[in-house]
């Protein structure tokens, strides 16, 4: 399933996501951010950054068609967002699978392929093959028979990624795939994600608190803060001045000895103080992260 792809459709050159004058929030009162303008081109690898509760997950909910725009226009694949679109693969933010879930990983990946279908499951050979190749694509074939409850954070993220990939999406939305991972596992996972996304020409949006592991791969950065959304090339957004303003505390962007960007953030950050609204539904503000913009 991940192998042969159909030739690009006529709209292949059109941007994958276009937002114009977009307001998002939960009616009637709670506007999370206003007047967003951004465009995501096909094949771009995009980081979505911003403080907790600023509305990053809200942006995903809009793209997924789970939340209608308050105002303005949002087009995904040149059409209004549509819930259940097979072109979008989604990995929601979550902290863990219940440790009592005695179901093997393979089943979750398989359900990513056909879990939304009604009716009695027939032979299922196609879906099994699809599940295997999605597991191969993220290097998780050996995890297939392990119960979900027995996986580490990084392994779980690979399985979630396979679950999203098994439906052959053209756009991947990953909500904090790197949370709870140490530096090495973050880098490994970003490598896996980037490899899959590039080889299958998938456009990817990642919400991340620590963007250091992403920096080598980024095409674009979208930042959400203070009730606003803006985007830019990593070089223009990832500056000491912009990031300090974004998070409301001193952040420095440095270059290491090999010329790579490194972001060094302050330690203290009160949740939600910068956000334009509270993300009640996502639990984004409930994690107690106290994250900085970078590796301390």
């Amino acid at each position: 399933m991940l192998g042969a792809r159909s030739p690009p459709s006529p709209s292949a050159a059109a941007p994958v996501v276009v937002a114009r004058g977009l307001d998002a929030g939960y009616p009637p009162e709670n506007v999370v951010w206003r007047d967003a303008e951004f465009t995501i081109e096909r094949g771009e690898f995009v980081a979505v950054i911003g403080p907790n509760g600023a509305g990053k997950t809200t942006a995903f909910r809009l793209l997924l068609g789970l939340l209608p725009p308050l105002r303005g226009s949002l087009r995904v694949f040149d059409a209004p967002p549509e819930r259940g679109s097979p072109k979008i693969g989604y990995v929601p933010q979550r902290h863990a699978i219940d440790f009592e879930t005695h179901v093997r990983c393979f089943e979750l990946v398989r359900l990513g392929h056909s879990g939304h279908r009604w009716g009695f499951p027939r032979s299922g050979r196609v879906e099994r093959e699809a599940a295997w190749s999605a597991l191969d694509a993220v290097g998780a074939r050996s995890l297939a028979d392990r119960p979900l409850s027995a996986l580490s954070g990084g392994e779980l993220q690979r399985i979630f990624l396979a679950e999203a990939l098994v439906g052959t999406p053209e756009l991947l939305l990953l909500d904090e795939p790197l949370s709870n991972l140490d530096l090495r596992r973050s880098r490994e996972l970003v490598g896996v994600i980037h490899g899959v996304v590039r080889s299958h020409r998938i456009t990817a949006l990642l919400v991340a608190h620590d963007i250091n592991p992403l920096i080598p791969y980024l095409d674009k950065v979208i930042y959400v803060a203070n009730g606003k959304v803006a985007s830019g090339a990593p070089g223009e957004v990832l500056t000491s001045e912009r990031l300090s303003r974004l998070y409301g505390l001193p952040v420095e962007v440095l270059r290491d000895s090999r010329g790579h960007l490194v972001i060094v953030g302050g330690e203290e950050h009160t949740e939600g103080e910068l956000g334009g609204g509270e993300d009640h539904h996502e639990g984004e503000a409930s994690g107690g992260y106290g994250h900085s913009a970078g590796v301390p």
Binding site: H102, R104, E107, L111, F120
Partner: protein, 295 residues
């Protein structure tokens, strides 16, 4: 009846009695449904909800006895209603405990009132609702059970994959366009009917022995849903049949035997797994104990 070495002869003799045939037929249908639905209950972590449904069923059954109809109608009515209410009230599975507790306490109180108002054989009616009375099941009730059995199988086949998907990964299922609220209602209705059926065998208070324990055994033995459902059904069936069989010889309630059999098996499985993991870790290199655990 005394135990004899001629088991087949005994079984044939048992089946000459209509009440035993009824009990075996109804017990078989109910065990199959309870085994399947029980697995979904465990996977969706709704055992507390199933428990509460049985308790609201108690109020329904007591009410039905009070107005002079079959307790099964009261059971179905109350469990379906409270099941849907639970599904609608608590959107996220993890937030349901308080709503369920609230409904549960009220229902038990209501049942108590109905029993107090009833002027007939209070003790018998209450007893059979609370602890089951499969040996008293009528041919009509077997037919009704069969109809419910078929209906549940059809619905289960239709919603099996979405139910599994939303149990494991509700957020992604929602993004894929699954009606999460609708699935919750369907699921609770399935549990409601399964509970109403199972109450006939083991009663309101012992409902877990058919609806939860077999599935709890199954998830320890297989992490493939289809195999686990097979095991769960097998355990429920074996316990029901054996329970009826033993009750033929012994003057104690069938529900007691069924409950004890599934409990015994559960303990055995847990013990077996404990011994197994211990022997595996003993065989492992002792130096592992001194090294830093892998992340």
């Amino acid at each position: 009846m005394n135990f004899s070495p001629d088991l087949i002869g005994d079984v044939l003799l048992m089946l000459r009695y209509q009440f035993m045939v009824n009990a075996f037929e109804a017990g078989t249908l109910i065990a199959i449904i309870a085994g399947i639905v029980g697995y979904l209950v465990i996977l969706r972590r709704s055992s507390f909800a199933a428990h509460a449904l049985a308790h609201t069923g108690f109020a329904g059954a007591a009410g039905a006895v009070l107005v002079g109809t079959s307790p099964v109608f009261g059971l179905l009515l109350f469990t379906s209603f409270s099941g849907s209410a639970m599904a609608v009230l608590g959107k996220r599975a993890t937030h349901r405990d308080m709503e369920i507790g609230t409904v549960l306490a009220f229902a038990l109180g209501l049942g108590l009132l109905f029993i107090n108002l009833y002027r007939g054989g209070v003790a018998t009616a209450t007893y059979s609702i609370l602890f089951g009375e499969i040996l008293g099941i009528s041919a009509d009730a077997v037919l009704g059970t069969f109809v419910a059995f078929l209906a549940l199988l059809v619905v289960l086949a239709l919603v099996y994959r979405p139910l599994l998907f939303s149990a494991l990964d509700e957020d992604v299922a929602e993004a894929k366009g699954m009606p999460i609220l609708g699935l919750n209602v369907i699921f609770m209705l399935l549990v409601a009917v399964a509970v109403s059926m199972a109450v006939q065998v083991v009663g309101v208070l012992l409902i877990f022995s058919l609806l939860v324990t077999p599935a709890a055994i199954a998830v320890r033995l297989s992490n493939r849903p289809r195999y686990a459902i097979g095991i769960s059904v097998g355990v429920a069936l074996a316990a029901t049949w054996l329970g009826l069989f033993i009750a033929w010889y012994e003057p104690y309630p069938v529900s007691f035997f069924i409950t004890s059999l599934v409990f015994g098996l559960y303990v055995l499985v847990r013990l077996g797994q404990w011994v197994l993991t211990r022997s595996v870790s003993r065989r492992a290199d002792p130096s592992v104990l001194n090294s830093v655990p892998a992340s």
